[in-house]
């Protein structure tokens, strides 16, 4: 059937409490792939998508950050308040508010629906996660709720394909009239109690009892912390143990491709560019894809299951000891994937000083870009043996590096917040129901991570590898030169020029060269090292992989010093750019870069000196 396209575009906005499924519904309706997770605070600003209903109505849909009320206490809640009230800069008030409620938590979410209704704008209510409510034995009388609220009410299962059909049908109806508004002195809690009494029946269920029992362990001050540490520890063990066969496979493919190109092309600059530049550079980084995917499989599973807010609750005391509130946990946790979304997620923090401190320490959380460097050096210098009977030593070292980042962040926060009174806003966190992670969501999340990583390899890393190859290959060695050609190249000169600065911390000139392109992104340092060593390699070891090359040419002290450098160094343009954008000043960027580089240099210096004292220097 040919739908007649209406002339006007309907502007609708999704609003609701945090973690009620707004973004999942937004993705379902618009076909977008915005990040969703089973915890509050994933969306921190408005997002826009478009859809067309069956009757041809064009809808411009906004996904707004979750809010507990329209009296905003944080920057993200202010976005929701301003958009709903038509006060957001350059944005007219939406024609229709779509208030999304979690069917399993109506007591809390109906309170917000009443708040939205007070705006007196056309609205519909979507009871999301209706399947979860049914599983819990909840019976919701939709018709009664609709009559009591005075606005259209529909149900949805936002995470299921086709689960938003009732919402789509509701959009096709004429705009509902403005809803009735309660007097300003009305007791909203009493109204919610009446609505629940009239429209919802709730028998106690076995699953609820099980969740309560589980929470008794998971939220226990001692056992809960032990479970959290065990989960993190297992995660890093898995990164090394599970990924190895896959990494070996990818490495073999890269090696074979290099050999193929070497066999097809005659000796010359083009072969050098492809083999020593592109394949050695990008290929060395691609090998780490399995480890990154396994790390994210754990993180996404914990996100989806509903465990993460519980971890935030557990760590609130630890955060308080560093002068921060538990609200800093989600931004810092996001920073384990990448500091950019982590820094943006600080918008959920009301206290401006807490927010600034969280922004300053977020780059200390070990982002996934550090993983290639950590695993390269660990594989080269830490023996692959079992400790205490069950643990992989390499995994233990990786875990220690992550802990070093966390401890440093807490110490810096403590120093920055010294002498300040406790936060005025205590942590108020909604604990969602436990959920089995959906395979589709996990697969989608992993695909997005893989495509982002490969896209970075295909753009940033390949182009920098080519440029570094050119710098390492030209000018060519003069006639009669005895040393390796790279010694006479521009890169060789730059490396030696930087050496006086970095020699006191144990770095050689090849590392100095790799640090320059590594400013763009941390993992680029791996490809840069691969390119520098590939260009400088003799015929005999030209085919050797980077790991054995490093273990034969570097001392353990140099490797440990470089690891210490990367725990702190803010080698990421995107992170510095997002700090500028979120704080609106270059001053904070300069402070962040200066203190992080200072810490990196100090940590490397101490590590190098300790290594020298224990005989870990050059032999």
């Amino acid at each position: 059937m040919d739908a007649v396209v209406r002339e006007r575009t309907l502007r609708a906005a999704l609003v609701g409490n945090p973690n009620c499924g707004k973004t999942a519904l937004f993705n379902q309706l618009t076909g977008s792939r915005q990040k969703v997770a089973n915890y509050a605070g994933v969306t921190v600003e408005r997002k826009e998508g478009r859809l067309t209903t069956a009757s041809g109505l064009a809808v411009r849909l906004l996904d707004l950050p979750g809010a507990y009320s329209l009296n905003a206490t944080s920057p993200d809640e202010a976005v929701t308040r301003d958009v709903c009230a038509g006060r957001y800069r350059g944005e007219a008030a939406p024609d229709l508010l779509i208030c999304v409620l979690d069917a399993t938590n109506l007591r809390l979410h109906l309170r917000f629906a009443l708040d939205v209704r007070q705006l007196g704008r056309p609205m519909i209510v979507v009871i999301n996660m209706i399947d979860a409510a049914r599983q819990q034995g909840l019976e919701i009388d939709i018709a009664r709720l609709q009559a009591d609220l005075g606005v259209p009410v529909v149900t949805a299962i936002a995470v299921r394909r086709g689960g938003a059909s009732e919402v789509l049908a509701a959009l096709d109806h004429p705009l509902p009239p403005p809803p009735p508004v309660l007097p300003p002195d009305a007791d909203f809690h009493a109204v919610v109690r009446k609505l629940l009494q009239d429209a919802v029946s709730r028998p106690a269920t076995a699953s609820e009892a099980f969740e309560e029992r589980l929470d008794r362990w998971v939220l226990h001050p001692v056992w809960g912390m032990a479970i959290l540490i065990a989960l993190m520890f297992l995660m890093f063990q898995a990164v090394f143990s599970w990924a190895q066969p896959l990494m070996d496979g990818v490495q073999a493919l890269v090696d074979q491709f290099g050999e193929l190109v070497r066999g097809v092309l005659p000796d010359g600059v083009l072969q050098g560019l492809l083999v020593d530049g592109v394949i050695a550079g990008a290929g060395t980084v691609v090998v780490f894809l399995p480890q990154i995917l396994i790390l994210f499989l754990w993180i996404l599973t914990l996100e989806e299951s509903g465990y993460l807010p519980r971890a935030a609750f557990l760590l609130d005391r630890l955060m308080a000891s560093a002068g921060l509130s538990g609200r800093s946990f989600i931004p810092l946790l996001s920073s384990f994937a990448c500091a950019v979304p982590g820094i943006m997620a600080t918008r959920t923090i009301q206290n401006p000083r807490d927010r600034l401190v969280t922004i300053l320490i977020a780059p200390l959380m070990t982002c996934s870009a550090r993983l290639p460097i950590y695993t390269l050096l660990i594989a080269a210098f830490i023996p692959r043996k079992t400790v205490w009977g069950i643990f992989n030593l390499q995994g233990v070292v990786l875990f220690a590096l992550y802990i070093a980042g966390i401890v440093s962040a807490m110490a810096v926060a403590r120093i920055l917040k010294r002498g300040e009174r406790a936060s005025e806003h205590p942590l108020l966190l909604e604990l969602p129901a436990y959920r089995a992670p959906g395979l589709r969501d996990l697969a989608l999340g992993l695909w997005q991570r893989a495509s982002t990583f490969l896209s970075r390899v295909g753009t940033i890393i390949v182009t920098l590898s080519v440029l570094l190859w050119a710098l390492s290959s030209f000018p060519a060695a003069p006639a009669g030169a005895t040393g390796p050609a790279i010694d006479y190249s521009l890169a060789g000169h730059i490396g030696r020029w930087m050496l006086p600065i970095f020699a006191p911390i144990g770095f050689n000139w090849q590392i100095c060269v790799a640090l320059i392109p590594g400013l763009a992104a941390r993992e680029v340092a791996v490809s840069a090292l691969a390119t520098v060593y590939a260009v400088g390699a003799s015929e005999a070891d030209a085919a050797a992989q980077l790991t054995p090359l490093l273990s034969s040419q570097w001392s353990i002290g140099t490797a440990l010093s470089l690891l210490a450098w990367y725990v702190f160094a803010p080698q990421c343009f995107s992170t510095l750019a997002v700090i500028r954008r979120e704080t609106g000043t270059w001053k904070v960027v300069i402070i962040a870069a200066a203190y992080l580089f200072g810490l990196a240099y100090a940590a490397s210096f101490i590590t190098w000196r300790i290594a020298l004292a224990f005989g870990g220097g050059p032999s």
């Binding site: 600003e45 997002k47 350059g90 970075r456 182009t463 920098l464 440029l467 050119a470 954008r581």
Partner: protein, 75 residues
Amino acid sequence: MIETAIVVVVVACCSFYWLGRLAPSAVRPVWQSLSRALASVGAPAPMQRAVAGRLGARSGGCGACKGCDKGGGCH
């Protein structure tokens, strides 16, 4: 000789890519000239659209994401 020419072109393209990332305004005249040249020779529409897209591209973005919000936020 051909090998050297290919290598020079590849290295120049990579340099141009990074110049565009670090100093977008410096490469804008190049895209503008290319856009005019393609229009004058009647180049295929997809090619013209691709170049026009580069002209309209924002300098922001994080990693592979270029979905910056009009308010300066990240999508």
